[in-house]
Symmetry: C2
Subunit: 241 residues, 2 copies
């Protein structure tokens, strides 16, 4: 599917870095060397390196070279990073997962919902509550709002499996951009009802707006995580100098 040459180079270098073909703080081959290795133009090599830079894998140094600054991290418990579904996350985190649908209903956006979710008043939505289990333990409570016209045919059965697989596989929808906000909030009654938080009185909350490849927002989700099983990772890079 992705035949893009720069993407191939990106993945190849990424794997070499992860498997320590290049070790921490070591220099990668120069751009000119990589051009010869991969038989491509300078732009294509630079594009792959730009992706690695954005991932925090390497650091280009003007006039000197490109340094590997990747350090393996212990994937503790449940780590959230780029765009991926719960199912994909569990696989990457090597957990067995399951989902219980607590509520599956339809509603129409009003002013209050519009302010919260970004869906214009009058829009038809699915509202779903789901409880997520990792290794049989209930750890995450999801509140999903889906744009009905974009995800028609959604059923509780699908919601208990992977909604994203349905959207991407069956409907041919492409998830592209996700804007996320992370906060820490007090537990609610419904949190306590389903999740054993021991003595914690708050949860890690990710709210996200997700857009498809037409720039249409089709999802708003609030995902409430057990503190002990939550870790969010991020790399920030200064633009320009």
């Amino acid at each position: 599917m992705p035949k893009a040459k720069y993407n191939h180079i990106y993945k190849d270098l990424k794997e070499k870095i992860e498997t320590e073909v290049y070790s921490y703080q070591e220099m990668l081959p120069s751009e000119n060397t990589l051009i010869l290795e991969y038989g491509c133009s300078r732009n294509t090599v630079r594009r792959a390196l730009a992706l690695l830079t954005a991932d925090g894998y390497v650091q280009p140094m003007h006039g000197k070279g490109v340094r590997n600054i990747f350090q393996p991290v212990e994937q503790a418990l449940f780590t959230v990073g780029g765009i991926e579904s719960f199912k994909e996350s569990t696989i990457r985190n090597k957990r067995t997962a399951s989902t219980k649908v607590l509520l599956f209903t339809e509603l129409t956006s009003d002013e209050k919902i519009e302010k919260k979710t970004g869906f214009k008043k009058g829009t038809r939505l699915y509202y779903i509550q789901r409880l997520r289990f990792l290794n049989k333990i209930p750890l995450i409570l999801d509140h999903n709002y889906f744009l009905k016209e974009a995800v028609s045919g959604l059923t509780p059965e699908i919601a208990s499996q992977s909604v994203y697989e349905y959207l991407e596989g069956t409907l041919g929808l492409t998830i592209t951009t996700s804007k996320r906000t992370l906060t820490v909030e007090h537990v609610t009654q419904i949190d306590e009802k389903y999740i054993d938080l021991k003595d914690y009185n708050c949860m890690a909350v990710i709210t996200s707006q997700t857009f498809d490849d037409n720039g249409i927002q089709f999802e708003y989700t609030q995902s409430r995580h057990h503190p002990d099983y939550f870790r969010f990772q991020d790399v920030a890079v200064r633009k320009v100098h």
Copy 2:
């Protein structure tokens, strides 16, 4: 001095989007139009658009155009985003800020510290504890580890102002990459001693490793935030398709 042309175009378009010269869901001018407007090559325009895409401001659609998907968000309380110092954050969040240095000391990294911070055993470090006030209220507790050889000349006085200003201004060091992990943790005795958390028994914790433009890690920081005054924002974009 950012004289880069793509950066100028990026900032110009960004401002036009923020001031709603282009409104939400509207198409931006086509690449060819922008080439004429800015008098530059296609690559340069595309580079600016790529930055806007990474910011979650626009979404390019193959064969159709580039859509504005920017929505203004209410900057509630204290929002964390890209790389910036506490001082820069407070300015952007329009707060008045101050800092109290609780502890300023030197130490040598051992195995335990190496595992936590990434600084090799035997490395000389500054260890600083600082309390951050917003509008006179203590809200953030910082534990900083700085690589001594990279930030020589650091004093408690500087630590009570802006360390980053000292590093970038006086020492000519360039902050480039920051790897961050966000978790929710129980409050500690020292948290409770300095910060009024009301009935919260946990805090939002950002741990970060920061690298300079030589790819040298010069900082490890754990920043503990009051839940009511914490918000972390992020945009994730799918690579390839």
